[in-house]
């Protein structure tokens, strides 16, 4: 149901985007397309292959000697030229723009090469020699929170760097009086949204006026501008941040590029020329940011009629290796609205913030919402199941009653407006829920797994800039002073011929802000939107900005658009006074329409818009007495409802709160575990829709990502912290084939707190769709504990039970004896070599012979008793990498057993492992048995994980074949494959 509630002639209409023509014609200029100063150099970044290691030494000599290389910077230079970034907590967890002394996640920037072009810069990366001493890494948040866990920041003394608990209402009483308590623990995975365009920074240090001039695709919020300028030891105006009009997507992620801005500023200052850096896909997936993974234990106090009277939430949020501002935002941005769409007065929340050896967490569309709604809405389904009630009945029983808005939620959100019951009614009626239930019945009668899921979400928009101070105690907040609000800027200019141009502070990331701004301003000035030019570039030296400036928290519709209307109204008032002066009528009689300005009493005597505007430029003397010439007005807006947290820790985290109600039908294939979305209905009340076409665009985007989060997207880490999702072949975003068309329904309940009545709509489906699909899968399969993403392999494992047994007594794969973590490659096997054990033994201990046996061995030298260092070219097919290997043989019991350990390091990654080898004389030769386990980390694990086991087998085979050949024995049979692996492992090569 789309109510016809246009606000003006253009606002509220589904107008086509003015941004599209340049985009479709290939004329939109993205940050990477913009011209740079002649002499601009290019940077490439060397990254850690280890999740946790001490940097013993870095030797840049060889890299500096490479062609075209102008500089190589390491932590040493960064420490000289900058200060660590400010963080939200007062704890010693320093972060610089390059690692200092220690790396804490795979992909952490260790050094930067500045060269004439990017190719040369990347060539030189291979020549930087870093010696690491690997340290134990901690990856799983529960492990990190344990006593005695390896510390990510030893100086902080703990990995759990913040614990806050909150109590609202009378939770103990609610739980004591409840008929039952329903409980569920969820483990929300690491994921992100992945812009097509990575980070781009062009930094130019102007030595003479001491200005860092930066062009980037930073998206704000500018709360981190002071963080950057402090790190660079300059005053705010000396750090000029400029951004392009077009962005290849943000989703919040382009906030977290600020360490690279500082890094390139320092690089530019060091080399005396501009430096450009373009992040590539591997860098982005490995090291940009992820939404925090979170473990939430939720409890609901429930009455037998389905009424929920209280909640308890215990959250453990994983921020990875560093707490980059504005982290831990995702833990607090939803704080005021943790009760979701439900009228529940009593609640406790425990928030724990944990550090691990993973990529730092950051801003991602939904910003904490996908995590908490996954817990809340899964829990509400459990309430229904445990009470034997219909899920939708339980939802209806608990929704905030219509007529109670503005509604103060338990934790402080002031929910501006809504009619949740009506939204549910529209959704079930227009989305034909009854029909969907029949489809479920039919499918189930045929033995198919079919389920229906629901999700209720309250979608916050326009963050209170003070919400993060909720992490501090009341006393700490008093000391620091109150923080709140969200200041928005827009400017409307009218030139001497009546041309209207608009600028604004929203740093659009593809949403179509220029289209809406032109609609808003056109309505005020009585002209056509296409007559208005919007320039969405931003420049902190020229344009007004505040800490709230930027593109995040769906703030455009409720903050920037109203600021533009304010500016336009000032322009209109001025033009009206000029027209009234010329026409000699009172200015409140003045009408603006179709490019004309006239008195409502005399429409025939109309002035052209351009004529009135021109007066302010051409003939200031004709202006009304006391009026300033020219026409350029700034609109500045901040809502008074965004108050700082109060002494009861209540916080109105956002200005507006939309409502989303989703349901869907899914089928799970019993054979393959694949989820098919049969129908998806999403209903939104986002207040007034400024442009319904753009609103639907936001819904489509959030929904498509929600499907990815539900079914396929996850940043996977090995137990050792190796990163395994470094390309789009492993981090699986849904494509058009995986995203069925949803039915989108709207209703419009205006917000009373923002001038245009509009709320946010960009993030709702990022919160609702993952849990809606999970609830449907739970309904289809009866499974309680569902961890996203619900991949076919995972679901098949849950629904199929035990697989048929191995048919005959072939050797089952035994568990590995060696400790292997990460992309832990482990195995064991045996092979036959047609010579005596002594001969095999000799080969293994003779560097000259061994060098001939090891595949791809360019050089092997003895570096100690039974310790070797080797230079190897390893690979399969055309895939080759050069590695330095160290291998030691210990616990020698000639010619029977030995223990092998070692490691590999090269530009493709690093490996550590060990194993055992046993020689046994058998008829006609020797049986060599072995087992091994090793980890692989770095690039090869990130982009080639699926190939590693196979590659290990290939290399093992080659080794044993060559071993056989070197001892004069005939070729090893293929059954000996694992034999060879062991040897390889011996070399440390082995996977």
């Amino acid at each position: 149901m789309k109510q016809e509630t246009h606000l003006g002639k253009f606002v509220g209409r589904p107008m086509e985007r003015v941004e599209d023509a340049p985009l479709l014609a290939g004329q939109a200029m993205f940050c990477d397309d913009l011209p740079v100063r002649p002499g601009t150099l290019h940077a490439a970044i060397l990254r850690s292959p280890h999740a946790h290691a001490q940097i013993v030494s870095i030797d840049t000599t060889a890299a500096l000697a490479q062609p075209g290389v102008k500089a190589v910077l390491t932590g040493k230079e960064i420490k000289e030229d900058s200060d660590p970034f400010l963080i939200v907590l007062r704890l010693p967890m320093d972060q610089w723009s390059l690692a200092i002394d220690r790396v804490r996640f795979v992909g952490e920037a260790v050094a930067v090469v500045v060269a004439e072009d990017r190719y040369l810069a990347e060539d030189a990366l291979d020549h930087i020699k870093v010696t690491y001493k690997p340290l134990p890494a901690v990856i799983a948040p529960l492990d990190a929170a344990k006593d005695g866990a390896p510390l990510v920041h030893p100086a902080a003394g703990t990995n759990v760097v913040s614990i806050r608990d909150f109590s609202y209402g009378e939770p103990d009483k609610a739980f004591a009086e409840a008929d039952r308590v329903v409980e569920l623990t969820v483990d929300y995975p690491r994921n992100s949204q992945t812009p097509l365009e990575g980070y781009i920074v062009v930094a130019d240090y102007r030595r003479e006026d001491k200005i860092y001039d930066v062009m980037s695709n930073f998206q704000g919020p500018f709360t981190v501008h002071p963080v950057m300028s402090r790190a660079l030891r300059v005053k705010g105006p000396q750090l000029r941040m400029r951004s392009a009009a077009y962005s290849g997507g943000g989703f919040g992620i382009k906030q977290a590029m600020f360490p690279y801005v500082v890094l390139m500023c320092i690089a530019s200052r060091r080399v005396g020329r501009p430096v450009k850096w373009v992040e590539d896909r591997l860098e982005h997936l490995t090291a940009a940011i992820a939404a925090p993974n979170r473990i939430i234990r939720g409890q609901a106090a429930v009455m037998n009629d389905g009424k929920v009277t209280g909640f308890r939430f215990d959250q453990l949020d994983d921020y990875g290796a560093y707490l980059r501002p504005p982290m831990p935002g995702p833990l607090y941005r939803q704080h005021g609205i943790m009760t979701g769409g439900y009228d529940v007065k009593h609640m406790t929340i425990v928030n724990r913030l944990v550090m691990t050896n993973k990529t730092p967490s950051g801003m991602v569309r939904g910003f904490g919402g996908p995590q908490i709604y996954y817990a809340l809405e899964r829990l509400m389904q459990r309430v229904a199941i445990e009470l034997g009630m219909d899920h939708l009945d339980v939802i209806r029983r608990n929704l905030i009653p219509a007529g109670s808005f503005p509604y103060r939620a338990a934790a402080g959100a002031l929910i501006d407006s809504g009619d949740y019951q009506l939204a549910v009614q529209i959704a079930t009626r227009d989305g034909k829920l009854d029909e969907l239930k029949l489809r479920r019945e039919q499918a189930r009668s045929e033995g198919r797994l079919y389920g229906i899921g629901f999700a209720v979400v309250v979608e916050p928009a326009q963050s209170n800039m003070g919400y993060l101070s909720t992490i501090n105690t009341v006393e700490e907040r008093r000391r620091a002073g109150p923080k709140g609000g969200n200041v928005a800027y827009a400017t409307v200019n009218v030139d001497a011929l009546g041309g209207v141009s608009v600028t604004a502070d929203s740093l659009p990331q593809g949403q179509g802000h220029a289209t809406v701004l032109s609609q808003v301003v056109a309505d005020e000035l009585g002209i056509e939107p296409h007559e208005i030019t919007c320039n969405m570039e931003r420049d902190t030296q020229r344009d007004p900005w505040s800490i709230a400036t930027g593109n995040y928290s769906s703030r455009f519709s409720s903050a920037t658009a109203p600021a533009a209307r304010l500016a336009a109204r000032k322009v209109r008032a001025k033009l009206a006074r000029i027209a009234a002066h010329i026409l000699k009528v009172p200015s409140d009689k003045i009408v603006f329409s179709e490019g004309k300005i006239y008195s409502m009493d005399d429409p025939q005597t109309a002035l052209r818009f351009s004529r009135v505007a021109g007066t302010a430029h051409w003939s200031p003397g004709e202006l009304p007495p006391g009026m300033e010439p020219g026409i350029s007005e700034i609109g500045v807006w901040s809502a008074r409802e965004l108050e700082p947290p109060n002494d009861a820790d209540q916080i109105n985290t956002s200005l507006t709160y939309g409502f989303v109600f989703d349901y869907c039908g899914v089928e799970v294939d019993r054979d393959t575990g694949r989820v098919r979305i049969d129908r998806y209905v999403t209903t939104h009340d986002s207040g007034k829709l400024l442009n319904p076409l753009l609103a639907d665009g936001q819904v489509y985007g959030g929904y498509a990502w929600g499907i990815g989060a539900a079914l396929s997207e996850e940043f996977v880490y090995g137990e050792d912290g190796s990163f395994l999702s470094g390309s789009f072949a492993d981090y699986l975003c849904p494509t058009a084939c995986e995203v069925p068309e949803p039915l989108i329904l709207h209703m419009e309940t205006p917000s009373p707190f923002t001038p245009l009545g509009a709320k946010g709509i960009g993030e709702g489906n990022a919160m609702s769709t993952p849990v809606c699909i999970a609830n449907a899968v739970a309904d289809a399969t009866g499974i309680k504990d569902l961890r996203l993403p619900l991949t076919p392999s995972k679901l098949a494992g849950l629904i199929q039970g035990e697989e048929p047994a191995r048919p005959r007594a072939t050797a089952a794969t035994a568990p590995p004896s060696a400790r292997a973590r990460g992309k832990g490659i482990r195995g064991e096997g045996s092979a036959f070599v047609a010579c005596a054990p002594e001969q095999v033994w000799q080969t293994l201990l003779d560097p000259t012979k061994l060098a001939k046996v090891i595949p791809g061995c360019n050089k092997l030298e003895l570096v100690g008793p039974n310790s070797y260092r080797a230079d190897l070219s390893l690979g399969v097919g055309a895939v080759r990498g050069r590695f330095e290997a160290t291998v030691s043989l210990t616990e020698l019991d000639p010619p029977k057993t030995a223990v092998i350990s070692g490691g590999l390091q090269g530009s493709l990654g690093s490996s550590e492992g060990g194993g055992n080898i046993r020689l046994e004389a058998v008829e006609g030769g020797t049986r060599v048995s072995y087992d091994y386990g090793f980890d692989i980390s770095g690039k090869v694990a990130a982009v080639g994980a699926r190939m590693l086991d196979g590659t290990a087998r290939v290399l093992m085979n080659q080794f044993f074949q060559r071993l056989g050949a070197s001892t004069g024995a005939p070729e090893v049979s293929s059954a000996a494959r694992s034999w060879w692996r062991r040897l390889l492992q011996l070399l440390g090569i082995a996977r």
């Binding site: 393959t672 396929s712 999702s725 492993d730 098949a796 048919p807 590659t951």
Partner: protein, 275 residues
């Protein structure tokens, strides 16, 4: 993600290409569509010194039919084969499998021979070649030879091609009379590499089943006179024999289950459409 420096040669004839190969050997790689090679070069997993681009070699850009085969030249794209009007009648299996090979966009660049020469164990085309018992034609400057699929496909990204040889064409046997064909795969998304792909051909007496994505290369098994009651046991044995391993997309257990379940599905379907 920039490749290391390489020399780029774009010969206009096969003879010229083979001369280049003879000259550079191991240091050279043939590039056709570049769908696998270019990403690997950008990751610097592959660092050829010389790239020999065969896109301009008209004599290799063909799909043709002889009495027993479809022969596809090395420059022919997957899209070209898929659009070839006789495909569905000449090779029902290829017609079913090709839509799973990447996407419309990638098929318009990716070549049939390139996929087979790359020998990725999860690719559909090497699986079809193995299941149909097709062959590969290799040429070097001085010689030409034809290898059966089983002799050509040696393992993970590993074939019997010698450094101075080039895959100039592949041959898929034509549909047999009285045979039925079926192809299924499970990939997480449409167009992804298969977690498990199955190709079945069923004749009156024999069942031939090929499995991709599980072992290091396409695995083919043939049964004759297999009673329906023995099908599950036969598939279970096959599944266990493939030495499946875990990766981030699927467990070994899952892969074995797919061999059993998709294998059964494909065999029954192929049998049902025997002509």
């Amino acid at each position: 993600m920039k490749p290391s420096a390489f020399e780029y040669i774009r010969p206009g004839s096969l003879a010229e290409a083979l001369a280049c190969l003879a000259r550079y050997g191991e240091d050279a790689r043939i590039i056709a569509g570049g769908l696998s090679l270019v990403p690997a070069m950008n990751f610097r997993l592959v660092q050829p010194k010389v790239l020999i681009d065969i896109a301009d070699i008209k004599e290799l850009d063909y799909v043709r039919l002889d009495a027993a085969h479809i022969e596809v030249g090395a420059a022919a794209t997957q899209a070209r084969l898929l659009a070839w009007p006789e495909l569905a009648t000449a090779s029902p299996l290829l017609a079913q499998a090709l839509p799973h090979v990447g996407h419309f966009q990638t098929r318009s660049r990716g070549t049939v021979c390139g996929s087979i020469a790359n020998s990725d164990p999860s690719s559909e085309l090497p699986l079809c070649l193995a299941t149909l018992a097709g062959s590969v034609i290799l040429r070097s400057k001085g010689a030409s030879r034809q290898l059966a699929a089983a002799d050509f496909q040696l393992g993970l990204l590993h074939t019997a091609r010698k450094a101075d040889e080039m895959v100039v064409a592949v041959r898929f046997p034509l549909r047999q009379k009285g045979a039925g064909y079926a192809f299924h795969e499970l990939a997480e998304r449409q167009g992804d590499l298969a977690i498990c792909a199955v190709a079945a051909t069923v004749t009156e007496r024999a069942i031939r089943l090929g499995i991709g994505g599980v072992a290091d290369k396409p695995a083919v098994r043939e049964w004759s006179d297999l009673p329906d009651s023995g099908l599950d046991a036969a598939l279970n044995e096959f599944a266990w024999d493939l030495e499946a391993s875990d990766d981030t997309h699927g467990t070994a257990v899952y892969r074995r289950q797919l061999v059993r379940r998709l294998g059964r599905r494909a065999i029954l379907e192929a049998r049902a459409c025997r002509n």
